[in-house]
Structure formats: structure tokens, C-alpha cells
């Protein structure tokens, strides 16, 4: 079983790296790109003995306590078999 964790900056937080990427995207010739926000993606392999519900609880805790900084970031957890 695998947990996919997406960590993104809160909408209220400025993202200078996303801005720089957006600028480069424009230089590449893509004119219809309004904005780019950078985030992080994690794949966590979990023991198959865990139930899906328990896996979700564990991954949520990992995301909250380590992977995301709640001051500036949000997270989303998906469990896939």
C-alpha cells in the first residue's frame, strides 16, 4: 500500500520560486499561463498489514507532523493499493 502526499503552499503565502518558474514558462513561449505554484510530492510505502483506514491515519500524521509546515503549507493525502 502506498500513501501519496501532496504539500502545497497556502494560497495566502507568496511563492517566489513559482513566480520564477512562471517567468521561464513565459520565456518558453507559453502565453496563456496565468500562474505557477510550486509544491512537493511524497510517496510513502506502507506495510500491507495495515488497513486502508489505519494507513490513512498514519499518513495524515506523517504529513501533518513532518512533511508540511502548517504555518505556510497545506497537505492532501491519498491512499492507493
Amino acid at each position: 500500500m502506498k500513501a501519496k502526499v501532496y504539500v502545497t503552499l497556502k494560497p495566502s503565502v507568496l511563492d517566489p520560486q513559482g513566480k520564477a518558474i512562471h517567468h521561464s514558462v513565459e520565456l518558453l513561449g507559453f502565453e496563456n499561463v496565468a500562474d505557477v505554484r510550486q509544491g512537493k510530492y511524497f510517496e510513502i510505502a506502507l506495510n500491507t498489514t495495515l488497513s486502508e483506514a489505519d494507513a490513512k491515519v498514519a499518513a495524515e500524521k506523517i504529513a501533518k507532523d513532518i512533511l508540511a509546515n502548517p504555518v505556510i503549507e497545506d497537505y492532501k493525502v491519498e491512499i492507493v493499493n
Binding site: 520560486q17 512533511l67 509546515n69 504555518v71
Partner: protein, 232 residues
């Protein structure tokens, strides 16, 4: 009086701090490896600059899980002094010993230069030998010094006088031009509500010898040692 300098894998200003404390501040000091769990015997600990755990995940994020950080939290709760510089400031924010977070500099550059900071609160254990409005010349060297927090946290910081240093120009104006990293309201250093935990991005340990361009950092260490001497 005894100082400890916490050493994480990737700390690189630990020897600078040790050198300044022993040679210029003239106090006993020991390195404390991050696997230690006992800080008894110390009056103050420095969390030095560097790249703890290679800045993996987020600057300061992984160091908060080192065994010594539990001891640092207990130490701070007892009112002992915890002083984080640069990466140390980032670690203290990640460990929730200070509010807010330090993000990538808004200009995306690693900023390495001498910079003016203005003393905003002269009543902390770290600034008691300074005056409000005094301007200190202290180097910065960081890529993630952009202080952010939500409006409620910022109001609390202001109401409790927890903003200790702000970036300013030579005349003491806290202009956008004097802000090296996009930090909210030019914040360069903050303390906790009790005042015993301080985090700052500029490096006072690199400003204790005229040869290095400034002596202004000494006043911060002198304030701290005088505070400890009075409380012991």
C-alpha cells in the same frame, strides 16, 4: 556561567560561536552533539547557523526531531536561554519554540553581506546593553530568511514587543530597499513571549572582531552574559 553550542549534522557556524563565547565573551562553553539529551549545567544554549540535515525537506525541519531538541524545549520552558542564529532561527520556528516560518528569500538569491539592523526592543535578555533604535552592523548569509506569519500572529508579536531586530538602512529607516529577503515588516529577529528564546537571521558571532568588519555583535552576547550573571 556555562554556554552550550548545539551541533547538528550540517551545522557550520558552531565553531564561530564557540570561538566568540570562549575568546571574546570569556565564558566556559561546550559543544553539545545533537544526540545528547541532558542540558543540565548550562545557562544558555546557542543553536548555530549552517545547513542542519542538508536543509532537506525545509530549512530546519528535520533538526527538530533530533534527540537534543526535546531537552532544548524543556530547557526553554524552565526559562533558560536559547539563542538561534540563522539556521538556528529556522530550527526554532520549525520546533514551535518561536512563531512563524522562514521561507525562500523573495529575490531567490542567497544573500551574503553586512547589513544594518535596528534594535526594536531593548528590554530582552539579549539587548539589555543596547538602546532602542540603535543600529547594528551584522552580516547575513542565507537563502531562507524571509519571515512569514499570519496576521493574528504578527499582531501578537507587535503587541508583546517580540520583534527584537528589524532590517534598516544606514539612517535607521526600515525601507523595502533595506530588506534583504522580503521578510514581513523587515523582521530580522524575534523572541518568544517570555523573552528567553531569541532567533535572528543575522550572525552576531561573525561581528565580534574589528578584523571582520564589525564589533556590534559583542553587545548582544554581553547583554546575555550580564543577564545571566544577574539571575545567578
Amino acid at each position: 556561567m556555562k554556554f552550550g553550542v548545539i551541533v547538528f549534522p550540517g551545522s557550520n557556524c558552531d565553531h564561530d560561536a564557540y570561538h566568540v563565547l570562549s575568546k571574546h565573551v570569556g565564558q566556559p562553553v561546550d559543544f553539545v552533539w545533537h544526540k545528547e539529551t541532558d542540558l543540565s549545567g548550562f545557562d544558555a544554549v546557542i543553536i548555530p547557523g549552517g545547513f542542519s540535515y542538508g536543509d532537506y525537506l525545509r530549512a530546519g525541519a528535520l533538526a527538530q526531531f533530533s534527540p537534543v531538541m526535546k531537552a532544548v524545549k524543556d530547557f526553554a520552558e524552565k526559562g533558560k536561554f536559547v539563542f538561534g542564529v540563522c539556521n538556528g532561527f529556522q530550527i526554532l520556528c520549525e520546533a514551535d519554540l518561536l512563531p512563524g516560518a522562514l521561507m525562500r528569500n523573495s529575490n531567490l538569491h542567497f544573500v551574503c553581506k553586512h547589513i544594518n539592523v535596528r534594535v526594536e526592543n531593548e528590554k530582552t535578555p539579549y539587548t539589555s546593553e543596547l538602546e532602542r533604535g540603535e543600529i547594528l552592523l551584522i552580516p547575513v548569509a542565507h537563502a531562507e530568511g524571509n519571515y512569514v506569519c499570519d496576521d493574528a500572529t504578527f499582531a501578537e508579536l507587535e503587541d508583546n514587543n517580540q520583534i527584537v531586530f528589524r532590517y534598516c538602512d544606514e539612517s535607521g529607516e526600515t525601507s523595502d530597499e533595506a530588506n534583504p529577503n522580503g521578510s514581513r515588516s523587515n523582521v530580522a529577529g524575534i523572541c518568544n513571549r517570555q523573552g528567553n528564546v531569541l532567533g535572528m537571521m543575522p550572525h552576531p558571532e561573525r561581528a565580534c572582531e574589528g578584523l571582520l568588519g564589525s564589533n556590534d555583535g559583542r553587545d548582544i552576547f554581553r547583554s546575555l552574559t550580564n543577564t545571566i550573571a544577574k539571575s545567578n
